[in-house]
Amino acid sequence: MTRNQPETIEEQEARIWEALRHVIDPELHVNIVDLGLVYGVEWTDSGEVHVQMTLTSPGCPVGGVIMQAVGKVLQRIPGVTAVHVDLTFEPRWTSDRITIEGRRQLAGR
């Protein structure tokens, strides 16, 4: 399978964030980026992606599923060779991290 290499790091990072928007919390039905669950993304020249993320609570019943899905959507990106998902609860997630779009979606539910 031929993979189209991105032209710049910024372009690749944009693709990563866009892919992460496809991971939707099944209970809240808002994507993890707009929920503010993704704390940071790093990309190396060798194609490794490091995602630091959290969950709304440590006991989130879909936490494992969401982390698996992050790996799944990112590995579809051309040039990605490995995905490292680092789950952290420091700092703890708060509602301040939800984007305006995320708030709009939550308010309608």
């Binding site: 496809h22 991971v23 939707i24 099944p26 209970e27 809240l28 039905h29 194609g47 709304t56 609570s57 440590p58 006991g59 989130c60 019943p61 879909v62 936490g63 494992g64 599923v65 969401i66 982390m67 698996q68 899905a69 992050v70 790996g71 799944k72 959507v73 590995q75 990605v80 060779t81 490995a82 995905v83 490292h84 998902v85 680092d86 789950l87 703890r92 997630w93 708060t94 509602s95 939800i98 708030r103 939550l106 308010a107 309608g108 539910r109």
Partner: protein, 443 residues
């Protein structure tokens, strides 16, 4: 660090959510069948006019169908799936759950049949099976909960509530043995309140209050650490329950009053915390599931106040109550606490938990795909809302009618309440009959 290498990555639907099996669904659906049977039995009893509530076949059968058949089976079923998730670590309780189910269902059936025919030997045999089922079920959970380096407030609630469950069913069995071969004169007379306190306040209230601190924030999308305040009601509730039980046992009235006061304080702390959680929620609409669960807290407060008022009326010589008045009032308070507090909370949370379990079993692997449904897509919330409206309007009217002792209203309001119960049961059962068939079972 979770390392997922692109070349070898195999999506698994579950990381912490073991066990993936049909057993939670079996517990839940069997519980719903028992709920309908409890409703029919209770309706039959009410239509016939309330007789003596103690050692009366119908209310005993209806009560045990409700508290053991419905509420306990559903709670245990939800625990199989949700406790490993809440704790963030697997519990090897699958085999134990299967053995427990095979003891509990026949046990409850025998127990209820025994009450129906008033055969102490029959309900004693059923009770023995129930005790065995409960022991088998709780052992792996106790083991897993103790294994944690630090017991969290939620884990403490789970540990203690399972102990209360075991004490409740064991005490019930002891009472059955007393009826078969009397060995302790005052056990049946003085034991019934202990059995009820252990079951309602100990088992159900403790576990519901405990998991509420996890489930309300989760389903209402309320941010922040909601579990830390749980320590306060945990201490008050358990101190209250233990003091009430001991004081009742040694005939110490001030001790009973102190115990009830402590329990009541715990309940009010809990109600305050739930209100705070719901106030900071991000979801505007609660939905019929969380709405009913929130309403359940109101029933608990009403039941507690009603029970206190009734106790004062019985104790104070200036308030004349006939036996008939007392029986109607006891049934009204019992309904507030059982159908209102326990039933409303379980039905409400079930409207969220059942589709969640189905989703985890069947659709989790689709996360990140466009075809992935949301949890809410898996349940008919309109059906639940209609059922909930009938359930609560019927129940509220029934409690009023019982207090007023107006028999035609008792029967009609009970019928409306039953209709609401039946509709919700139907909708909850249909969750598992979605197009793709039964949930994926790996057992």
């Amino acid at each position: 660090m979770n390392v997922l290498t692109a070349g070898s990555f195999q999506p698994k639907p579950n990381l912490h959510n073991r066990p993936l099996s049909a057993w939670p669904a079996r517990f839940l659906n069997t519980g719903l069948v028992f709920l309908v049977l409890a409703g029919i039995t209770f309706l039959y009893w009410l239509a016939d006019g309330i007789g003596h509530y103690r050692h009366n076949a119908f209310p005993l059968a209806a009560t045990h169908l409700f508290v053991l058949g419905f509420a306990t089976l559903v709670t245990l079923g939800a625990m199989i799936q949700m406790v490993p998730v809440l704790l963030g670590r697997p519990i090897e309780g699958e085999r134990a759950a299967r053995i427990a189910y095979l003891h509990l269902v026949p046990g409850i059936t025998l127990l209820v049949g025994g009450f129906w025919q008033w055969s102490p030997r029959l309900f004693g045999s059923g009770g023995l099976l129930v005790v065995v089922g409960v022991v088998v079920f709780v052992i792996p959970y106790w083991r897993a909960l103790w294994a944690g380096r630090k017991v969290s407030p939620i884990e403490a609630f789970l540990l203690v509530s399972l102990l209360y469950l075991l004490l409740t069913v064991s005490f019930g069995l002891l009472m059955a043995f007393q009826l078969i071969a009397p060995f302790w004169g005052s056990l049946t007379l003085r034991g019934l309140p202990l059995h009820v306190i252990l079951g309602i306040a100990g088992w159900f209230t403790t576990i519901i209050v405990g998991v509420s601190y996890q489930l309300f924030p989760m389903f209402a999308a309320a941010p922040g650490d909601s579990t830390a305040p749980a320590r306060r009601p945990f201490t008050l509730l358990n101190a209250g329950i233990v003091i009430t039980l001991l004081a009742w046992f040694i005939h110490l009235l001030p001790g009973v009053v102190l115990g009830i006061a402590l329990t009541g304080s715990g309940v009010f702390c809990y109600a305050f915390d739930v209100t705070a959680i719901l106030r900071r929620r991000l979801r505007r609409k609660l939905g019929p599931g969380v709405g009913q669960a929130a309403l359940a807290v109101g029933y608990l407060i009403l039941g507690l106040l009603g029970g206190t008022a009734l106790a004062i009326s019985l104790w104070h010589p200036a308030i004349p109550l006939t036996i008939n008045d007392t029986q109607h009032a006891i049934v009204a308070v019992a309904l507030l606490l059982s159908a209102g507090w326990i039933g409303s909370m379980i039905l409400g949370m079930l409207a969220k938990i059942s589709p969640m379990i189905l989703w985890l079993n069947r659709y989790a692997h689709l996360t990140g795909e466009t075809a992935a449904p949301s949890v809410a897509d898996l349940i008919d919330e309109t059906g639940i809302a209609i059922g909930a409206y009938l359930y609560h309007s019927g129940l509220f009217a029934l409690v009023i009618a019982l207090i007023l002792e107006y028999q035609p209203a008792i029967v009609w309001s009970a019928a409306v309440w039953f209709a609401g119960m039946f509709i919700q049961t139907l909708v909850l059962g249909l969750v598992w009959l979605k197009k793709e068939g039964a949930p994926t079972a790996n057992d």
